[in-house]
Symmetry: C2
């Protein structure tokens, strides 16, 4: 345009645009143009382009040429509508609305009925045969314009309106008569003059240009600026302005207004869904005096219009190949469309719609997959709080394990177990949990702790069980002794009802309505399509046969991380585990472990049966041994109490030995201490027992005809020699047993040195699995627990980090080292099997990185498997698209 | 050789070799050959090459051709000496000695007098005119051969000898007469036959080949194999065998034997130093019956020989351009040299000798620098234990701060301060130390703790003060209440004398003799030469003016790390610091810090005066705030006690608030927690105060005419945005003050993410300093405290790691990330100033890495500055050499 004529075209009549001109015309304008081009009934109008707003921003005033273009366009409008702007007879009235390429809050709102003044209002009155209606339109226009364009607070108008209402003794504006409205309008105009030092613009052209300028200005209002900053939207996009001739839905019972979705946005069902009000303007809906009716009632009240609406809706949906959210007005029996846009929908609806539209042949399977945000699936996989109710969280903690749960508050694991087995729903509330509390976690519906981070005991165990959990809720002060807690001035007594939402970290008083998850037929089919497309494998982090069964049902293709420590934490085994810890030699330790071997073996047998035919990656014991001992402060207190009670020598000696061992196992930084392969090397009897249990379990299920592919994983390797030593031990055990089936021995890559020396490690290791939780901790030098409790919130709100790197993989830092690791590993061992088993394995953006980095699979919580399947498919589609573009 | 003739030459007469043939002839053989070529009086002989031993090893038997070559060589010997092997008249006797290219323990010892048997002994008797002497030679030969070659335990021979001694009632073998010796010999031979099932080899040729084979075999004896594994010496080197005709120093008073150093190996003084015995063989010295005399007495007793010896010594020293350790024998007035080798020397001597030999024009300055191992200098810079005494450590801990100290044991900081100011020498013994103990550390001669690692409070403070310190001495059980400690069954009472050696980690009972360090003129000159050569700058890690003064005296070119936390830990400031920590808002914190600002400013003024004209890198506060609060367990106990004593409400409230704040500051992994720039960002008032103190101090010294170049260092940056935010704050403070002098703002690179994103960071940071302590922790995922207390020892002894990566920089892992950081940083900002300030900055091997990686400077403890200067010079020489070779 501009290049040929030497100046830009700023104004586009609806007939000139298409939906692809979103950047120039804004979303609203582009869709109005598209609908016009489709021949749908759109009140005529035009769009002032985003370029005009950018020119305004640059120059600080409305471009000269724009005024001329607007005048031309208005003339066309007058002709089209057979009306005249500013004329007291058949006056042309318009609406003015902002419409940026990306919708954002804070931009200027709609101004309706522009063109009204003391002259034209008479024309409107005559035409509608309703003077009251016309005056009310004028009153509202003055108020809206005065507020939005001239910046006069709404309260100033409301005060005038209120005093007139009081004067005649009515409660609602609708009850004001013609006389009162005139009185209101006069007072408005007087107040306007007083506030602004000049009269209200009577000239419709002045009104129009003022409104356009107000839209331009609103681009830089603080709320819009902050929103753009936060969402990374460029300031240079600018906003368009839509000027459209008014239609009136309130000129009698043949009129009306409404909003319709082309399908049910809550369920996805293929039926028109919406509301309308007969003989009304949009504002009446907002005012809340009259209750809108379901749109299907139009079938009876205005059958023809309803048929039109059905046809238009179907037409738009197919045209846009997506569910639409349509605003319409019926003027004297004639349907007009004021807006169409892609409909917001619930995750359940998103899946159903994507599925159905494929079945209907409207979109391809690939398009369907790109229509659903994987993260949104989460609510379909966990119970969630019904968002339709009033939500007022009493406290907020870390969202440690997603899903919502309600129940009575209990303050001890024993109580939770008791109530749980009695069929009561309870929430276990503790300062933090320890292995001694497992039975309570099993018994409770959800867990709430005042301390701990995303990797604390409660968080890990709850995630493993798929049980809702909120941790690190610092506002919560727990008084265990008196079995109560407080949040600020609010008290929580034992037995009070509480609801926790582990998806958001919120805690609510009382029992909220929960929505239970269902894996519908549509959902399953949809995920099957994802499987057809994706190249990345999806496995589960699962420690128990129960987890594994859920994972398999959700489509896991194996287990990518079986954490064996949970097998050690079972209450029935803790005694033997503690005896092992107290052992003073490898021999003593081995003897203590003999009690655990058969139990661990049967754990694996169960797990292998569940995962028949699939690979199962088993991580040898990882956490420091002190995690299996009682809390050291509690031990000290117990000792003190025993001493005070004059306990006998023998009793004291046992406790003191336990205390002294716990003391000697204490560490400054347990995350970086004696754990993982360091533990395996210094206490070789532990890994030896575990490997024996794995191989014996494998033999056992093979004898039942079940094939299984164990992948033994050595954690926390920083030097190939650690791995070499332990891999040799695995081979030794295999030889001792003899005839062991096919298996792999590999390692978890979770410290930077393993990434840097990946070549050396790959010379010996048969697979890599990136443990990105610990890798993120070491690459940043962040202790996850401490960071999330102490400064992560600050970092995110101050914009020092864009994302919590424990939630979304940090591609720049951690990702760079992962790529180093993958390159090094595959250079040494072609086709090295590589996966990820940190929690990032369930995060769509992180999964996309894993796909691009060339990993073989991701592994995540069973409850995120469907999310991972979809995310992996979308990544595959994205890279297909990119490779096509190249 | 082998290539032309089709077979190898295995035997080399001394005349055929040179000192460069060490690999073929072994060290001893090459030197014997060299001396022979120099025309020095060496008893004639030959060397069987290492290739022969390797051939023996391969084939499992002595190569056929070797036997022939030995016969030929022996014939030459017979001719040269006018003697005949195995003949009863003028019998040729030889010694057989191993001699590998690298000397190692476990190899076969010398066999003397080979060729003796019941026939030839008569010839020896006749020649020497001393039958007793000849028989004693035979007895010793049988014993030595029987033991070394035939493997009969020495005890079996000693028992026979003892019973004969007892029979005649004498105490010493020297008192046995001819008859008794014959009796011994007969019994030896009978026992030999009984043990071996065959007679002792009478045939000298059989003796000779047996001895040669025994040398070959000793290459693979377990001690030698372990030694080679440990030192990375190839098994394929093999050993040579030296066969040399015997000379006798015990054929009358014109004979003798001795060892001489060409300079004093203890002091380096240029004077012959050694011992000799007149009329004796080497064995007599070993037997310890007669006491050797200082070699200078030969000036009187054998003036001509002494002159010969002086001439030969000078000759050899110049020829080898190094101090020699020479073995000699005088046979009837004639001097024979049996061996020469480079002399072992003390570090003090090494420096003096290197210096003097340059002055004498024997070696170049560069050669001198390559002669002294930088690590050896350490003992010259700290008091050390006199190694000439008996050393029996009672316990061992971690060598936290080098140097030795003796004193009376005290168990509290107050006692240490009291005794210290009273002029008493005390050792402060504590489970661990806290900031509250600083006055005690100042007062004590040395510090010993039972807990903690190399970076615990005691270790850091002591290293900063250059005060000996041993930490983590787990064997030590301290009973503070009763003011005593135990190590196993040994008790240590208050007031007992103790010596600690912070260089080795040893703890000794009693007061050991200590050697105080002196920086001699030679040493200073030597270090000046190092400065001329090196390209790497050397700075000091110094926090106080005292440290800085030491550093400057030792040659520091600036401060590379001034840790400001020690300024916070001063007892007089702790109250204000704690008030700041207890503050509930930035404003409250700022007010509390107002009390600290003038103190911190005057710290910097002092420091800047000391470092006038030089750069000073100041790290803003790094440790987590809880380090400045009392221990949480102590606080809890105090609270308990107060409660039990019925303390008043107000008193309780203060303590409880302190306890609750300490509790809220507790962290799971403080090393990865709220510290460094994370602290600076969340508590901005702290850095703001520090930066103000720095700038104001700078202004203050500039007004005195002192130039200073502060480099403000932001610690623990993992993302450029952390740095950007804080650098902005520094600029703001500079603007507030106005007219601030030249300074830099840079960062410490100490987490892997900073290495990986170094380019982004360098776009904003004006210098990098690698904090390799924390970087090593994060790259390995090792908590230093926990690793050194729990598994580092195991890793090193099991060979999982070759070196403690906290002592020697891990080039493969940590170094690789450092290179990534340097490349990234310099790609973005050409010539970016880069240094290292972790403790590795004082380790020679790590310094060599820093040199190769292209850093600008290293920074280390003041007491390691001379080591760093020398190490840097050697690295520069090495890379010069390498670039010449290219």
């Amino acid at each position: 345009m501009g290049e040929d004529t030497g100046r830009s075209q700023y104004v586009y009549r609806f007939e000139e645009g298409t939906r692809d001109m979103r950047e120039l015309l804004g979303g609203k304008g582009a869709n109005l143009a598209e609908m016009t081009r489709m021949g749908l009934p759109v009140p005529p109008g035009f769009t002032i382009s985003t370029e005009a707003s950018m020119e305004y921003r640059r120059a600080g005033r409305i471009p000269e040429s724009l005024v001329g273009e607007i005048r031309e366009a208005m003339e066309s409008l007058e002709t089209a509508r057979g009306r005249s702007f500013g004329s007291p007879e058949r006056p042309l009235l318009v609406s003015v609305r902002s419409g940026a390429p990306v919708s954002m809050p804070g931009m200027m709102d709609t101004i309706l009925n522009l063109g009204l003044n003391s002259n034209t209002v008479a024309g409107l009155a005559a035409e509608s045969g309703d003077e009251r209606f016309a005056l009310d339109c004028l009153r509202r226009f003055i108020q809206m314009y005065g507020n939005v364009v001239s910046g006069i607070p709404v309260g100033d108008f409301e005060r005038i309106l209120g005093s007139v209402r009081d004067g005649v003794g009515v409660a609602s504006d609708y009850e004001l008569g013609v006389g009162e409205l005139r009185q209101v309008i006069d007072s408005y105009l007087a107040m306007y003059r007083k506030r602004m030092g000049r009269g209200f613009p009577e000239d419709p052209w002045e009104q129009l240009l003022g409104a356009v300028e107000a839209v331009f200005k609103s681009w830089d209002n603080p709320r819009a600026v902050v929103y753009r900053r936060h969402h990374g939207i460029s300031d240079a996009l600018g906003t368009a302005v839509n000027v459209q001739s008014m239609v009136f839905g309130n000129l009698g019972s043949g009129g009306g207004t409404g909003v319709v979705f082309t399908r049910d946005p809550a369920t996805g069902e293929a039926t028109l869904y919406g509301e309308y009000l007969q003989n009304a303007q949009g504002e009446d809906v907002v005012a809340g005096i009259r209750t809108p009716r379901p749109v299907e009632e139009m079938r009876d009240t205005m059958p023809e219009v309803y048929r039109d609406l059905e046809r238009v809706a179907r037409n738009l949906e197919v045209h846009y190949a997506d569910v639409q959210d349509i605003e319409f007005t019926i003027e004297e029996g004639e349907l007009f469309l004021l807006q169409t846009r892609g409909a917001k929908r619930t995750p359940a609806a998103a899946v159903r719609i994507a599925h159905d539209m494929v079945e209907e042949g409207v979109i391809s399977r690939e398009e369907a997959l790109l229509r659903v945000d994987p993260e949104d699936l989460s609510v379909l996989l966990h119970p969630s709080i019904d968002l339709s109710g009033e939500l007022d969280a009493m406290a907020r903690g870390l969202p440690a394990s997603p899903g919502a749960a309600s129940g009575k508050v209990v303050f001890s694991a024993d109580d939770a177990e008791r109530s749980g087995s009695a069929g009561e729903r309870v929430i276990l509330v503790r300062p933090e949990t320890t292995p001694d509390d497992i039975h309570g976690i099993v018994g409770a519906q959800g867990i709430l702790t005042s301390r701990g981070g995303m990797t604390c005991h409660a968080a890990i165990v709850a995630r493993g069980m798929g049980k809702p959990c909120v941790v690190g809720c610092g506002e919560l002060r727990i008084d265990l002794e008196n079995r109560k807690a407080t949040v600020g001035s609010q008290q929580i007594q034992e037995g009070d009802l509480l609801t926790i939402d582990g998806t958001s970290g919120s805690v609510f008083r009382g029992e909220m309505d929960l929505i239970e998850p269902v894996l519908t037929r549509h959902f399953r089919t949809f995920l099957d399509w994802a499987d057809d497309v994706r190249t990345l494998g999806v496995r589960a982090n699962a420690d128990t046969p129960e987890d594994a069964a859920v994972a398999r049902d959700f489509g896991a293709e194996g287990i990518g991380l079986c954490r064996t420590e949970h097998m050690f934490m079972e209450p029935s085994r803790l005694e033997a585990v503690q005896a092992m810890i107290m052992a003073n030699s490898t021999e003593e330790g081995t003897r203590a472990l003999e009690a655990i071997l058969p139990l661990q073996r049967s754990d694996f047998v169960e797990l292998f049966r569940t995962m028949a035919g699939l690979p199962v990656t088993i991580r040898l014991l990882d956490p420091p041994l002190h995690e299996f001992l009682p809390d050291i402060d509690e031990l000290r207190d117990e000792l003190r109490a025993l001493r005070a009670a004059g306990a006998g020598w023998a009793e004291m000696a046992v406790k003191e030995e336990l205390y002294s061992r716990a003391l000697s196992l204490q560490e400054m930084n347990p995350m970086l201490g004696l754990r993982g392969c360091r533990l395996g090397l210094t206490r070789p009897e532990i890994y030896r027992m575990q490997v024996r249990a794995i191989f014996e379990a494998m033999e056992s299920v093979r004898s039942e005809g079940i094939e299984i592919f164990p992948e033994i994983m050595i954690p926390l390797v920083s030097d190939v020699r650690e791995f070499r030593e332990l891999a040799r031990m695995v081979r030794e055990v295999a030889e001792e047993i003899g005839g062991v089936g096919p298996h792999l021995v590999g390692t978890m890559i979770e410290v930077p040195r393993a990434c840097v020396t990946a070549g050396e490690i790959a010379a010996e290791a048969e697979f890599f699995s990136f443990g990105t939780n610990d890798l993120t901790q070491t690459v940043f030098g962040f202790s996850r627990d401490d960071a999330e409790a102490k400064f992560m919130h600050f970092y995110l709100t101050e914009g020092i980090l864009d994302e919590n790197p424990f939630a979304v993989l940090d591609e720049v830092g951690v990702g760079s080292l992962i790529r180093t690791g993958i390159d090094g590993g595959r250079a040494e061992r072609e086709g090295l099997k590589i996966g990820i088993c940190g929690e990032h394995g369930g995060d769509p953006r992180s999964i996309d990185f894993c796909h691009r980095a060339g990993m073989d699979y991701v592994s995540c919580s069973p409850y995120r498997i469907p999310i991972a399947r979809l995310a992996a498919a979308r990544s595959a589609l994205k890279s297909r698209g990119e490779s096509r573009e190249m």
